[in-house]
Symmetry: C2
Subunit: 654 residues, 2 copies
């Protein structure tokens, strides 16, 4: 599908969009401000634009008079691009004109990095962990009385050159009936050893030819959410994907409170059963949706942080939170899924991602594997941002890692109107630099009901760049707008008035919200800097940054740099892998090469305890500003702010 060109006047901004794109999104992506506070639902009627040439679909509303419509006015949040367009943002006043000088930066989200099945094959990384073989066995007779198992094993040896085969009891139990169901035509599922010295295990036998159906499940066991994918091992395709809240949330929001609960009598058993309950719910959904026969699923790969992993395996995690913070184990043997209570067939094995330490868990190791960081020469900063942020710096030769507590701000926690990235969450924002009226975009283009992590970053960055807040995150109380106000003793900026929201009250961002975000980004930035210092390096040495985490794909990179969450680098150096833990789990499902390499990788990963590094606290305190105490670490922003100050003077003068 070819793209269409939209020119916004009088800003003379041009952007290429997909046909059907909503006009207001195009404006936002182009960095053009249009007042709009209903999230794109068409309620507030403020996003009036004039289509000067080309045609759009929709955008005619009762908010517009017949004359307006005839003159080309449309609501930008309702109009979809059908052809190349020239769109004019109405300039109704001197105030509006003065705003012309300030256009926002276009949105710059990170390029999404994915490893395809074909890539794996091309790179010689494809060692299938599970293969199916269709076998037309000779039937026994008085001259050939081989036992069922021996018959199958010998056939594989002679006709398929398979050696060092083992068979488990559940498979032996199936043999007599399965072999005779379709006249000794069977399909054997072979689980390959991770190491060459290991044995190939015949994990299943099925009557007839089922070689087309060979599946695995990958799962990310997060503290908050659990995601699962059902993977077709023939194609590498994800046939179904599903996420759900970790049922353990009822027993504590964070890792520490889960550990505390696990220490109570029966607590560990309870938490184990609950997380497996969520896992099984997800399995049920993805199996149902993909219409796969559960018998064709032979493995599940699970990645989670150290505590989630120990809880899932019913391994007491109490020492994870007690100095000197020692996990029970970081490497786990393959386990039968049914032994964990996982609702798969008896032959399915559960593979658990290894960890590095109590605070650098299997989820991070999975991200390092899934992102390919462990195979590159490029010096990489891997950053997984969630309630805890994990940082890995290194390349194929070495890796240093650390974790820091970011707090829940990036997941909408501790924010007055915080919410997860779901329908109605403010995900994009710009502000009129003169009137300070907002332009809000929400997930799903509905009236807003809250603020998600990526939206929060954009909000704070934009408020900062337009001077609505200062570098300590405090509101400029002198600005002439009723959107900035004191409410119950806390200063806030009203994003949308009650009538334009779904929550029937004014939706605002408060100084406390901003403070929480600054703390979170300060922890992460100072963590990166401390870890770099520990390995004797600086940010200029970094060749690439890989972002992982639930909110990352929506994050506007430039704005993440404005608030000082990310160091100021070329955005081309930044890529995003989404749920790194899930990606790593998927990769391990697809190839034994990852399973083999991962143990070596965990050995290479040196874990640092930031809290015990003398300079960390100093760095943290210095990072509790927007973007940082030392603005010289953000030269581009510094220049931009300087330029804006000049324009401001000029426009005030005009």
């Amino acid at each position: 599908m070819s793209t269409l060109r939209v020119v916004f006047e009088p800003y003379q901004r041009t952007i290429d969009v997909e046909p059907g794109q909503v006009l207001i999104r195009a404006a936002m992506d182009a960095g053009v401000h249009v007042n709009a506070s209903c999230g794109g639902e068409g309620v507030c009627g403020k996003c009036r634009v004039i289509v000067e040439s080309g045609s759009v679909k929709g955008g005619v509303s009762e908010k517009l008079s017949r004359e307006d419509v005839e003159r080309g006015y449309r609501l930008a949040c309702q109009a979809r691009v059908l052809t190349d367009l020239v769109v004019r943002i109405p300039v109704d006043s001197a105030i509006d004109r003065s705003a012309l000088a300030f256009t926002a930066e276009p949105r710059r989200t990170a390029r999404i990095r994915q490893v395809s099945f074909e890539d794996l094959k091309e790179q010689g990384l494809f060692l299938p962990p599970l293969e199916k073989r269709y076998l037309n066995l000779p039937e026994p007779n008085a001259q050939d009385r081989l036992p069922d198992v021996t018959r199958l094993v010998s056939f594989l040896q002679v006709h398929h050159h398979e050696h060092r085969l083992t068979v488990s009891l559940p498979v032996i139990r199936k043999m007599p009936s399965v072999l005779r169901k379709k006249g000794f035509e069977v399909t054997a599922t072979l689980a390959r050893p991770v190491y060459d010295t290991g044995k190939t295990e015949i994990v299943n036998v099925q009557a007839g030819d089922t070689t087309d159906d060979n599946y695995a499940i990958a799962m990310d066991i997060g503290t908050t959410t659990i995601y699962g994918q059902l993977i077709d091992l023939k194609t590498g395709d994800v046939l179904a994907e599903e996420g759900d809240f970790n049922g353990q949330i009822s027993y504590g929001e964070d890792v520490i409170s889960r550990i505390v609960y696990a220490e109570k009598p029966g607590g560990l058993e309870r938490l184990q059963a609950v997380v497996v309950g969520t896992i099984n719910k997800i399995i049920g959904k993805i199996v149902h949706r993909s219409k796969v026969d559960p018998e064709d699923i032979s493995s599940i790969t699970l990645a989670g942080n150290t505590t989630m992993t120990q809880l899932m395996l019913k391994v007491d995690p109490r020492h994870v939170r007690r100095a000197p913070y020692v996990p029970a184990a970081t490497l786990y043997p393959p386990i039968r899924a049914v032994d964990l209570g996982i609702a798969l067939e008896e032959h399915a094995s559960a593979l658990v991602y290894p960890a590095v330490s109590s605070y650098v868990g299997g989820d991070i190791v999975a991200g390092v594997m899934g992102s390919g960081m462990y195979r590159t020469d490029a010096l990489t900063l891997y950053l997984d941002i969630g309630t805890n942020a994990e940082i890995v710096i290194g390349n194929r030769e070495w890796m240093a890692c650390a974790a820091c507590s970011a707090g829940p701000a990036f997941e909408g926690g501790g924010i007055k109107f915080g919410m997860r990235a779901a329908k109605g969450a403010v995900e994009d924002f710009s502000i009129d630099p003169v009137t300070f009226e907002p332009m809000l975009m929400t997930i799903g283009n509905v009236r807003p009901k809250g603020i998600c992590g990526s939206g929060l970053i954009i909000l704070v960055a934009t408020l900062f760049e337009t001077g609505v807040i200062d570098n300590r995150g405090k509101f400029n109380r002198d600005l002439k707008t009723d959107r900035i106000r004191e409410n119950d003793g806390v200063w806030e900026y009203v994003l949308a008035w009650a009538k334009n929201t779904q929550i029937d009250r004014d939706l605002a961002i408060t100084e406390i919200d901003i403070e929480n975000l600054i703390r979170a980004k300060g922890a992460i930035y100072s963590g990166c800097m401390t870890l770099l210092e520990e390995v004797g390096m600086g940010m200029p040495d970094i060749d690439q940054i890989i972002l992982a985490g639930g909110f990352g794909s929506y994050v506007d990179l430039e704005r993440a740099m404005v608030i000082g969450l990310l160091p100021e680098v070329d955005v081309q150096k930044i890529s995003f892998i989404g749920n790194g833990s899930l990606m790593g789990a998927k990769m391990s499902s697809l190839t034994n090469r990852i399973r083999r390499d991962v143990v070596e990788v965990t050995r290479k990963m040196t874990s640092f305890e930031l809290s015990e590094t003398a300079s960390y606290m100093d760095k943290y305190v210095a990072a509790l500003f927007l973007p940082h105490t030392d603005i010289n670490q953000f030269p581009r922003l510094k220049a931009r702010l300087a330029a804006k100050r000049q324009k401001k003077i000029y426009s005030t003068d005009s």
Copy 2:
């Protein structure tokens, strides 16, 4: 303890016995007949003997007058040998005197063969499957944050030179608390790989030093009875032993009826649960009796025939009994004991003896391993006699094996007064060749209540040698004795009149009993001969015979040859190993060398189907005589019978 010498007059038979031996046993062992039909309980009062020199304890009874006692008369079944003795058997009549010419052969049971722990070590066969290591681990601190598992594994690597270690989830679960219970002093149980390419698994960790306690269980899973031993792996000693009826008996006496039951809905599951119930009952008893902590038991080795093995593992055995008689498997992987429902700790593994075919099972393979037959150059005939008889011929180079259905006669089944070898069973017998009065010995020296397998052999052999039955097993109806009679149309010989039994009716052996025994021994003998012929050999090629089976230790070898159960060979060539299956299971518990060799051995064992060998039926029919149609195969017996005929003529003449 030195032995005492007893001389029996007028037979001039001398025998050395242990002090305290009952006199009638000494007589029986010496081949001296004393009338006695109460089994040694002292009821019938017939076993009067005169102690001419030396002294005995007991034997004075109301059955003897004061004068008799003063003259030295004692009841032989009540008198115990205290010193060297000269004992005279009273000769009260011409008839008695005529009997002097006929003395029975002394008892010749097989020498018992056992392999000791020291033998294993001396022969370089000792590769301990389970070893314990006491470890005083360094405690973690801020500079040493190794995970618990890594801490233990590294310590084993560095300080004990242990490599290629694996750990299972149950052990990981134990680690955090066990390590901290006694200040990081722990004992690790290491399960050694059977093959050098395998890994050592840390199967258990315990707080403190428990290296002195390291145990295993060996079990024979018989169709009728299950035997278990608790073995100290440090010394090789059997700390406790227990047998019980296989609970499956209620669902069918023999293998076929069990398979039939297993084919019913839920039948297989039921039989599996029932046999495990018996296994657990035995485990409970031997654990209780030996006062061993179940946590110190890390393995159970199970040997049984193919059907018992499949039932125990819940593997459908229906094809074992259907042509072409194919078992599901003959080799089984190690299984967690708890997965079978066996009441041992989670870390205990269950090792199942491999089989050769549907009819040559793990019990026989265990016997071949336990007896050492597989390591000898001597050409060996291994014979395990039970309801089924299994025959193995060969040596370290090759082995041929076959099974034949002997029927239950050797276990007391199908015999009118048949019973198992338990208290009250007639186990020894001689007969006065003139009066045809019996001399009965029972297990436990109590009044008889039945006939056990070994007793049956002696009965039939003695009846045959004394001419009470002919070579077709039919009674000589011309003999002048009321003990031979027709009862309900069946001819029988009364062993004990009702008043001298525990069953309040006359105890007899019938022609039908004898016919059953002849069929059973005929099947075995012809089986051996057919198998020998198949491998192009004859009985003279055999260097040694190893007998196994429940009744074997009591079998009088000469009499087994008289009935043609065993070929006529030098008794020095015959040895007895008792329960070969249990012995093999014990050996596998003690050393991995057996576990390693056994797979190779099963490959060497070629299984023959006797029923499909053309000559088997001919040989069987020829063997349905006492001892055989061709008496020339039993030259010693032939000579003896000839000599007796002469004496008979002589004595009748006198």
